[in-house]
């Protein structure tokens, strides 16, 4: 299990290959990439700056991954979240889960993303033509995380 917070971009090929290339038990990898969009709430976005809480971030991500491991058959997993300033089309986050079968890989990957969105201490600030603003949390993210309490 690899959990990392970094400013540098990451190499999707290398990260995903690390999950399966050495382990012929892996039949499925589900991966999610979150990217900077050029529009949010109707306004143009020039840059996005990610702040986090060093120490707690890694701890929160490790707890989320542990919870996923308890629910699904996960063979390996990588979570990389970037911080600092990024431009539209740049990847922000990678969550990749390796499993024997696809259902576990998909469910664990989506679960980790939903929990990351509501429990990992990251904050986004957007630069728009009208100046900078902090991104507001979405109720839909709380709802997405809450639905895992009834299934899995």
């Amino acid at each position: 299990m690899k959990i990392q917070v970094q400013t540098a971009p990451f190499d999707l090929n290398a990260e995903v290959a690390a999950l399966y290339a050495a382990n012929p038990k892996v039949g499925a990898v589900a991966a999610f990439l979150g990217l900077v969009r050029d529009v949010n709430e109707g306004d143009g976005i020039a840059t996005l700056t990610l702040e986090h809480y060093p120490g707690m971030t890694e701890r929160a991500l490790a707890k989320i991954v542990d919870e996923a491991k308890g629910r699904w058959d996960m063979l390996d997993c990588t979570v990389i979240h970037r911080v600092g300033e990024m431009k539209p089309t740049e990847p922000i986050v990678l969550v990749a889960v390796a499993s024997g079968h696809r259902q576990d890989a998909f469910a664990a990957c989506e679960f980790i993303m939903d929990y990351l969105k509501t429990r990992a201490p990251f904050w986004k600030k957007e630069a728009t033509p009208d100046g900078e603003r902090w991104v507001e949390a979405r109720e839909s993210d709380d709802a997405a995380a809450a639905r895992w309490q009834n299934k899995g």
Partner: protein, 86 residues
């Protein structure tokens, strides 16, 4: 007397004009609720940002907790807006 480290992130860090402070708490401050009341008493942005009904989150020693959590000497207490990563 209890001493804790207070950390503020994102919008709160900007509004409070600081990301961290070391605070010596009066003996009546026993829980996070007490701490919030003590910070609100500073007035200004402290009162408005931490007012009842405002959305913020609390962590003690890097775990998210509710406002009823009891504080201990040396704790690292963080106050921050709802998270928006991913």
């Amino acid at each position: 007397m209890m001493r804790v480290t207070l950390l503020y992130f994102a919008r709160l860090r900007e509004q409070f004009g600081t990301g961290s402070e070391s605070a010596a708490l009066p003996s009546e401050v026993k829980t996070l609720n007490d701490l919030l009341a003590w910070l609100r008493a500073r007035g200004g942005n402290w009162a408005s940002e931490l007012a009842e009904g405002r959305a913020f989150r609390l962590a003690v020693n890097q775990d998210m907790v509710g406002p009823e959590a009891v504080l201990n000497d040396g704790d690292e207490v963080a106050i921050f807006p709802p998270v928006t990563g991913g």
